[in-house]
């Protein structure tokens, strides 16, 4: 099917009319350039938002407590609400089918020492489920498990940066680290996409911390993820219900915003996915608008080309050119100009994104880029566009009567 002579004809025609081809290609190149840059920047914005929320699972709900601000049921304002293990168990039992993972958290700051090195780190004492809620990735060893909870083992899982700080010339796994005077065995090292702060954390079984640092069953915070099968509205009504139940349980006024707080990540996620959706729509709208303008431009110029070449086409027909061969010449020229111009635009666009990308961090644009899928899609769109732009002019050209070749003008 590949006809080298046909392509030779087309290249000859394009080459012969270089300025005209360049001008007609310019609109398309510009359209694709604009589209690529817009798309890249929109991608960069989305990357930023994703990064902000990548730290925790997007379906997590945080339940935390504070002091009451309102008197209720005969109780004074200013009362401290303290969660305990029984509250954790209550939620787990009451809403078992709506909860995917659940953990308690106890917060502490500890001074960690290993050989000569020492520093202060935040410590989170947690349940095993915490790993999935926080999206902790184990680099070496393992996370806290049920056995650790039951036996109150003195083990810790430390962040990658903690290992780098303290274990300068060695690895941490299996070593004993001193936290506020008590030796713990390092059973795992983790990484976290949430950034440096997350990787400077130390995790410990919650039972161990409760036993060693206060000998109570206090819980600072309860975190859970809702069943991912729930939709946005179900998730919201679940967190509202949870808030109401917990307030009842602690005799807190319904309108008290501080004593018990239930924060549902779904709200933020929803807002962001809506925003990125709108952004994508705008980009596609502007991009396709410009592309349509480009196609119209090419189509216009092809009509002009056909008009200009009317006599030549007549001569070709008189010499025995079939209508099909005339259509292919015009159509392929249109496709070729569109595709080449589009690719030039795409390449420049990708180049510009690569060049300015690193300087855009402060404008909330992270790693703006276009995907391979988009490039592939763009190729198809460009070829289709070229065919679309060339179709009418080519049809017109094939209808030219060879008799025009005989006209003397």
């Amino acid at each position: 099917m590949f006809d080298i002579d046909l392509w030779r004809e087309i290249f000859q025609s394009i080459n012969k009319n270089r300025t005209r081809s360049l001008l007609s290609g310019f609109t398309v190149a510009f359209a694709i350039l604009l589209f690529t840059i817009l798309f890249g920047i929109s991608n960069g914005l989305q990357n930023t938002f994703k990064k902000i929320f990548v730290d925790d699972a997007s379906n997590s709900i945080v339940v935390s407590s504070g002091r009451t601000t309102k008197a209720n049921k005969g109780l004074q304002a200013g009362r401290l609400i303290q969660f305990k293990n029984e509250d954790f168990n209550f939620i787990k039992e009451e809403y078992g089918n709506k909860v995917e993972y659940i953990t308690s958290r106890v917060f502490k700051n500890v001074r960690a020492i290993y050989k000569g090195e020492q520093s202060t780190y935040p410590l989170r004492a947690v349940h095993p489920d915490h790993q999935f809620i926080e999206k902790t990735k184990i680099k070496e060893g393992r996370y806290i498990n049920q056995n650790d909870l039951e036996k109150q083992t003195k083990v810790v899982v430390i962040g990658k940066l903690v290992e780098e700080d303290l274990f300068v010339k060695t690895t941490a796994l299996g070593k004993y680290v001193n936290l506020d005077g008590i030796a713990y065995k390092v059973i795992g090292v983790f990484t976290d996409a949430g950034g440096d702060n997350e990787e400077r954390q130390i995790y410990m079984p919650i039972t161990t911390a409760q036993h060693l640092y206060g000998n109570n069953d206090y819980v600072d915070q309860i975190r859970l993820t809702y069943n991912p099968e729930m939709n946005y509205n179900q998730a919201l009504s679940f967190s509202t219900l949870l808030s109401k139940t917990m307030k009842d349980r602690f005799s807190v006024a319904k309108s008290d915003q501080r004593a018990i707080r239930v924060r549902n990540m779904a709200e933020g996620t929803k807002a962001i996915s809506m925003m990125t959706g709108v952004l994508t729509f705008i980009v596609f709208f502007i991009g396709s608008g410009t592309l349509i303008a480009g196609i119209t431009g090419i189509s216009n110029i092809m009509v002009f080309i056909v008009k200009e070449r009317t006599k030549e086409i007549g001569v070709r027909k008189a010499l025995g050119a079939s209508p099909k061969s005339i259509v292919s010449i015009i159509l392929l020229e249109s496709i070729l100009v569109t595709a080449i111009a589009g690719y030039v635009g795409l390449l420049i666009g990708v180049g510009v994104l690569k060049w300015i990308g690193p300087h855009l961090k402060e404008y909330f644009i992270t790693n703006p880029s276009v995907s391979v899928t988009l490039v592939f899609g763009a190729t198809i769109v460009l070829i289709l566009s070229g065919a679309l732009a060339g179709y009418l002019p080519a049809k017109k050209a094939s209808k030219i009567k060879p008799i025009v070749a005989l006209r003397n003008d």
């Binding site: 080298i4 002579d5 000859q12 025609s13 012969k16 006599k311 030549e312 001569v315 070709r316 027909k317 008189a318 010499l319 025995g320 050119a321 079939s322 209508p323 099909k324 061969s325 094939s398 009567k401 060879p402 008799i403 070749a405 005989l406 003397n408």
Partner: protein, 233 residues
């Protein structure tokens, strides 16, 4: 070789129609050299167009080399034109961005001949019209006479049965006209059938037969003694 019977053609002009050819009967044998003459509006160009399958008759019979030509599809007409006919135009109609060789090779391209083969053949025909050294030149670098020679080489390239020339010397000065006519006569001597439209008496006299048209009918159809063009060169 060519037979036309009761050929009619009219063109619509507004509400009425203009009857251009009113029952033409003509037959041309192989090896003839025929001039079709007539004032403008006599229908001579229309007749040539129909013979060249560039236009279709309304009624009548047209048989070329035993093949009835009517109701051709565009595609079929293209094949027939390529196979049977060579065109020589008044304004040469070379493709301006192709050099002489490529212009001559174009009908062979539409025959589906391989590139190398058709370039060899095209060069052979260019040599025949004496322009081998000009093969790589663009039309704008050639004189009028040279352009018409390239056009003749192109018309000959596909080895057609019939050469159709529409005022082949119309755009040339007298001396060059005689050059070209001498060459066309030579082709006829070699056996090519030639049909040309002209309104110049001296050019017509260089053919072997003159057909005079007036108002769409043949007024006169006579054989003449050919005037050789070489004597003027």
């Amino acid at each position: 070789m060519l037979k036309i019977n009761q050929l009619h053609k009219s063109y619509p002009i507004g509400d009425t129609s203009l009857h251009v050819l009113k029952g033409i009967n003509i037959s041309v044998n192989e090896g003839e050299m025929v001039a079709i003459m007539g004032s403008s509006g006599s229908g001579k160009s229309t007749l040539l167009n129909i013979i060249g399958m560039l236009d279709e008759a309304d009624a009548g019979e047209y048989i070329l080399d035993g093949l009835p030509i009517n109701n051709l599809t565009e595609k079929k007409a293209a094949v027939y034109r390529n196979k049977f006919l060579g065109f020589i135009f008044q304004s040469f109609n070379l493709i301006n961005y192709k050099n002489a060789l490529e212009n001559v090779a174009l009908p062979l391209y539409y025959q589906g001949m391989k590139r190398k083969e058709r370039q060899e053949l095209a060069l052979f025909h260019l040599e025949k019209v004496g322009l081998k050294d000009w093969a790589k030149h663009l039309p704008k670098e050639l004189s009028g006479g040279q352009k018409q020679r390239v056009a003749i080489a192109r018309a000959l390239a596909a080895n057609p049965k019939l050469l159709l020339a529409d005022e082949p010397t119309g755009a040339l000065d007298t001396k060059t006209s005689h050059d070209i006519m001498a060459f066309i006569q030579q082709l006829n001597d070699e056996g090519k059938t030639i049909l040309m439209v002209t309104h110049e008496e001296d050019i017509a006299n260089m053919c072997k037969r003159i057909v005079r048209l007036r108002d769409g009918v043949i007024m006169e159809d006579k054989k003449i003694n050919q005037v050789r063009a070489e004597q003027y060169v």
